[in-house]
Symmetry: C2
Subunit: 148 residues, 2 copies
Amino acid sequence: MEPAPAPQAPARLNTTPSWLLGQAATHAHRLVAEALGTVGVRGYHYRLLAALAEIGPTSQADLGRSCGIDRSDVVAALNDLADRGLVERSPDPGDRRRNVITLTVAGRRDLRRMEDALDRAQDTLLAPLSRADRDQLIRLLSTLVAER
Amino acid sequence: MEPAPAPQAPARLNTTPSWLLGQAATHAHRLVAEALGTVGVRGYHYRLLAALAEIGPTSQADLGRSCGIDRSDVVAALNDLADRGLVERSPDPGDRRRNVITLTVAGRRDLRRMEDALDRAQDTLLAPLSRADRDQLIRLLSTLVAER
DNA sequence: CCTGATACGTTGGCGTGGCCAACGTTGGTA
DNA sequence: TACCAACGTTGGCCACGCCAACGTATCAGG
């Protein structure tokens, strides 16, 4: 009657970088989802709002490109955001194929709330690491991502 | 006519640890999926085979627990593996609620092929990092995961 | 012995994130 | 004018993770 026979994954995995990366990312994702959940929003929504705040009113296509979300997924997420009044869709007078997406005041307000919650999530995530270790981690991950 | 207006995500994200973690994990997952794909298998399948090779014949429940896969997902993945003859399901004579899962010879062979492919994927993933940096990364990620 | 809690395998479903194909519309260009 | 490209939109697929429910089987307590 072993108390806890197998705590986690096969030993092979626990030293495999891609596995550790996945586990850490899952953990981080959980914290982030929880944080965004307090504002009633998902990852796509936040990303779009953040991009919008950064680059100003844009077409859906540019918006999607600027944050790595597929055109079709942008549509759905923007529907949610527009329904909640965080964003406004208006036809581009200069190019009738496009919609111009604008961040509303409410959108800017909620974005702030999201970022506050996210900052707290980052702190929770990085809590077990020293300041120097955090910088190291960011450096290493950036290197990996750059090589993508 | 800017050549490439926005290369990637909102600036806010590119320094956010959880975002970098996710990006790196996605990249790693892509490499891993590609590697496992050469053996015609997905993540769940590999994990189960690896766990099975490590702890020997076990019930589905224990198997799932040992590699963090939900019971219901274990069923489906084992169906695939059994259909391909990589694994054998037999009723446990000592406890008729259980199935004993056994790794077949073919299963052990394919597992080897998966691990070879995975080793290559890890090398590709870590290519941009020095030996010391790789160790650092593993250490930092392990710390994060341990705090989960 | 019986009863109730618990574990098992299984089915079916939901949500997130990522991707692709196709369509009709509009723009730009040869 | 014809053609191709980009746009927004619909609809679909996959991987992974998680949960609820069911019928069966086991086991511990009364």
